[in-house]
């Protein structure tokens, strides 16, 4: 059955890509590639589910697939888990993309979009099954390039090409590190299977293992968008078509997480404490800086992209804590950290996918990503608003939705840190707790802003006033992910044992399928903490039903009059009196002014006769992110000045070039003689 699902998946992605090539425009050009991508992702999802729930683990091997090419595929629990993550967002994004791409008709190439979407999803699905370095690297590159094409879809828009180039540069810097990493890990033989690497990695010298780990952290971190390698993320994700943004933020960056867990935990089998410490540190910094920069954004999709940096950080806090415990041999706590991280991975895929699709619907309806021109959309787009609200509550880690369940686990893993034998290491944990708590508080503030300014109050522009609800397919796409947010939140007692099973045996982790649940509750070892989001939800629903009922029995006055908003006596309210996204974030901008260092420019034109009459006021304020200022700008300047120096070599004189050839030839001959 599983190989059937696998070939169904291949067939439909192929079908999607081919039909996209055949039909350049019209309904078939939108429908058929979407069907291919949707059913293909669904088959991948089913493959993951059947592997985890029905069949015995590690029963699906396709090493003979495409013989003689060195291609090897093998599905294990970790891969199956990521297949589910990919399938969840893939199906929703494909359905959504059918409706969303209607607006692209005649303006951009549906053909490229359809082909690349199918290739991207195919490579993602195969990526997590890759069983040797060669397969892994080829798929990695194919995935990056297809995503690059998708980012370039709206290439005539300002900023798109620049964003795509940044993405390409960063992803290739990462790719180079991954190639080097796999060379070290496999002893130079790229077709060595992962199973062999697992057994030989322990024999490598500690220095080599450290180098492998650092290269993996850089390579996978560039894909995941950890600080300071996140720079491409807030550029590239917003300019892509929204269902592609959902895929990129929901799934593609998760491949970085997959890679880190696969290499650090599985292939290397864990390492010294500082491995976990560095991941934990990078995670905490990414989480906090991600949300702090998100707060200052008023471009809805850029805001969401910065939140991806934040959530990757939260995932890595869990993974890092897991690795720290692992290095001390505290396996149950290690499993708790990894479970928290992986749970947050699928949660983030569902709510960030949902939020990007929601932002796409808003963009579709108003034609702008600027929140300052939105407002009042809850009345024009009730479904989109409801779905976006669910996503916003989930990402803010509000119980009983899914974000809370996974953050609770990560918190519990960090709280378990007091068991660590070394106080210096143990004291890292409370600092991480503080940073994680601040992050989640700021995320809640940021999503009050994102939802409130976008959907509530009066429309701030003509476009927002005449917005319309999205077509059915887009609503279905969002609805599926909203259901996932609720379902994953209500059933942690199902999800956590499954992830426990996925981790079973990886890097020597024990079987923790039954360790963290009891009935409907989650619990950490020896009742360190207990929580049941299911029962919290039930309790809240009962209270929400009982309170109005009691009010009715007590005959509370139920009249309601609709009238003007109170305005201290002024008549007529206009949108210009509303709070804006910028003003909403102003207090936090002041609190964290040391970090943001905003530049201010205030120009006031006075009346020529008296300075008590102001003719116009212009206020400009801009924030350049820290890393662009301190890291990338100097680096780019260095590259450019080096390039200018190197250009002198290329003087255009044939004689000079012949001289170079002669000199190099002599040097090579000498080198061959001596070595």
């Amino acid at each position: 059955m599983m190989s059937n699902l696998f070939f169904i998946m291949l067939f439909f992605f192929g079908f999607g890509a081919l039909t996209a090539l055949i039909f350049p425009r019209g309904l078939p050009a939108r429908a058929l590639p979407a069907i291919g991508a949707g059913i293909g992702s669904g088959a991948g999802f089913a493959l993951g589910v059947s592997h985890l729930f029905i069949l015995h683990p590690s029963s699906f091997i396709l090493s003979s697939f495409l013989p003689l090419t060195g291609f090897a595929l093998r599905l294990d629990g970790l891969g199956a888990f990521f297949l589910i993550v990919i399938g969840l967002v893939g199906v929703s994004a494909s359905i959504y993309g059918f409706g969303y791409s209607a607006a692209y008709e005649g303006r951009y190439s549906l053909r490229v979009m359809g082909v690349m979407l199918n290739i991207l999803l195919l490579t993602l699905n195969l990526q997590v099954m890759a069983d040797n370095a060669l397969t892994f690297l080829i798929l990695w590159e194919a995935m990056s390039l297809s995503a690059y094409w998708l980012v370039l879809t709206e290439s005539d828009q300002p900023g798109t090409v620049r964003a795509a180039s940044w993405y390409l540069a960063m992803t290739h810097a990462g790719f180079a590190a991954l190639v080097a990493m796999f060379f070290l890990l496999s002893g130079g033989e790229l077709t060595t299977s992962f199973a062999d690497m697992r057994s030989t990695s322990a024999l490598l010298s500690p220095l080599t293992r450290d180098a492998i780990f650092l290269l993996a952290l850089f390579g996978f971190g560039a894909k995941a968008g950890i600080v300071p390698l996140h720079i491409w993320l807030p550029m590239a994700h917003p300019v892509a078509p929204s269902h592609v943004s959902a895929l990129m933020s929901g799934v593609v960056i998760k491949m970085g997480i997959y890679g880190i867990v696969r290499v650090a935990l599985d292939l290397l089998g864990g390492g010294p404490v500082w491995w976990g410490g560095i991941i934990l540190g990078v995670g905490a910094v990414s989480a906090l800086l991600g949300v702090l920069y998100a707060l200052m954004e008023h471009d809805l999709k850029r805001l969401l992209a910065y939140h991806s940096v934040e959530n990757i950080g939260i995932i890595l806090i869990g993974v890092g804590a897991g690795l720290i415990f692992h290095s001390y041999g505290m396996m149950t706590l290690a499993a708790l950290g990894f479970i928290g991280g992986l749970y947050h991975t699928i949660n983030h895929a569902s709510f960030k996918g949902l939020l990007f699709l929601g932002a796409g619907s808003v963009l579709h309806a108003t034609g702008t990503r600027n929140m300052e021109e939105m407002g009042g959309l809850i009345k024009k787009m009730p479904y989109t608003a409801l779905f976006f609200l669910i996503g916003a509550a989930a990402i803010s880690a509000l119980p009983p939705l899914n974000g809370f369940a996974s953050e609770w686990l990560v918190f519990q893993a960090l709280l378990g840190g007091f068991n660590l034998p070394v106080p210096e290491v143990a004291l890292i944990m409370p600092v991480a707790v503080g940073m994680l708590a601040l992050t989640s508080g700021l995320a809640a503030a940021c999503f009050v802003k994102a939802f409130g300014i976008t959907f509530l109050a009066l429309p701030r522009s003509h476009e927002a006033e005449h917005a319309h609800e999205s077509p059915l397919s887009m609503r279905i796409g969002m609805g599926l992910l909203a259901l996932a947010c609720i379902g994953l939140g209500l059933a942690p007692f199902v999800v956590v044992p499954v992830i426990g099973g996925v981790l079973n045996g990886l890097g020597g982790l024990p079987d923790t399928r039954a360790a963290f649940t009891s009935n409907l509750s989650l619990q950490t070892p020896a009742a360190f903490g207990q929580m049941s989001s299911t029962l919290v939800m039930l309790g809240l629903l009962i209270l929400l039903a009982v309170i109005p009922l009691v009010m009715k029995i007590l005959r509370v006055n139920k009249n309601l009059r609709v009238s003007d908003t109170w305005g201290c006596g002024r008549v007529g309210q206009t949108p210009r009196m509303e709070y804006t996204a910028t003003s909403f974030a102003e207090p936090l901008r002041r609190v964290f002014a040391e970090l943001y260092r905003p530049s201010k420019e205030l120009t006031i034109d006075f009346h020529p006769d008296s300075k008590y009459f102001v003719q116009s006021i212009e206020y400009k304020s801009e924030i350049t992110p820290l890393f662009e200022r301190l890291l990338y700008d100097p680096f780019l300047r260095l590259v450019q000045s080096t390039a200018r120096q190197v250009r002198k070599l290329q003087a255009g004189s044939l004689h000079l070039y012949l001289a170079y050839v002669t000199v190099i030839l002599i040097l090579l001959l000498l080198a061959a003689r001596w070595f």
Binding site: A426, F447, G529, I547, W566, F584
Partner: protein
Amino acid sequence: MTGYLLEFSQALLALLLAPMLAGFVRWVKARLQNRRGAPIWQPYFELAKLFGKDVVMSNNASWLFRVAPYIVFASALAVTFLIPLIAAPLPFDNIGDLLVVVYLLLLGTFFLALAGLDTGTAFGGMGSSREMTVAAIAEPTIALSIFSLALGAGSTNLSHIVVATLTNPGVALSPGHLLAFAAIFIVSLAETGRLPVDNPSTHLELTMIHEAMILEYSGRYLALIEWASWLKLTIFFALLANLFVPWGLATALTPAALAIAVVTLILKLAILGVVVAVVETRIAKLRLFRVPELLGMSFVLALLAVTSSFLLK
């Protein structure tokens, strides 16, 4: 069965005590300021009045504005089922620990802040923005204080923390506990909108936070929100009282023990009420941009609490 009965009676008790606590703090404050003050049951009259009045809703507002009061009230009420008010352990202990309590309260704040933006006034937006700012920077202090309490008890479970202190009373005077108490006390003032962070008795000043956010509410919605905020005050006081000074809590469900527990709870709340009234009389409201410094101080206290708990463990 008695356990569930206990749960419902303690939630009911909190619900009924909350307005009186708010009235008591007001009354003590009035006395300290040489005023006669309204009777302490004045808040009940206010609730009755508000529940009897028509709601006037802004024409800009959406369904969210009408749903938010119920969510705010329900989330605060849900918390009263989870915290040990008169007895420990509780049958609902496995539903939620301290983290759940904190995030349930954040759920209420989240929806109230959204409702503040919904009417489109500058007041509402200002209130929402400030409320979320204060809530966000108070969060790390709360989390670290939880950490420090959990360190002592080996659990984030509220009843476990209470029972651990009861069986080992020396813990209550450990530096970790005392520092965490100070940290949570400061955060409680911020979270419940008291001086020096926010002034609960001010109206229509540019300095206000909570009152600005709920400015557009009236009638039964306002009644629910007011009641929920009094409930939140009761919850924070009860946490301060029972997590750090758990004596008096019933550990066995006998009528005598429960009666003692109710009386000591009321006494503890009254003492904390007097302390807050004195604090509010003695100090002036901070400028908004001084508030982060205050909360930063509470964060440092919490960090010290954790560190000392570690070193003394």
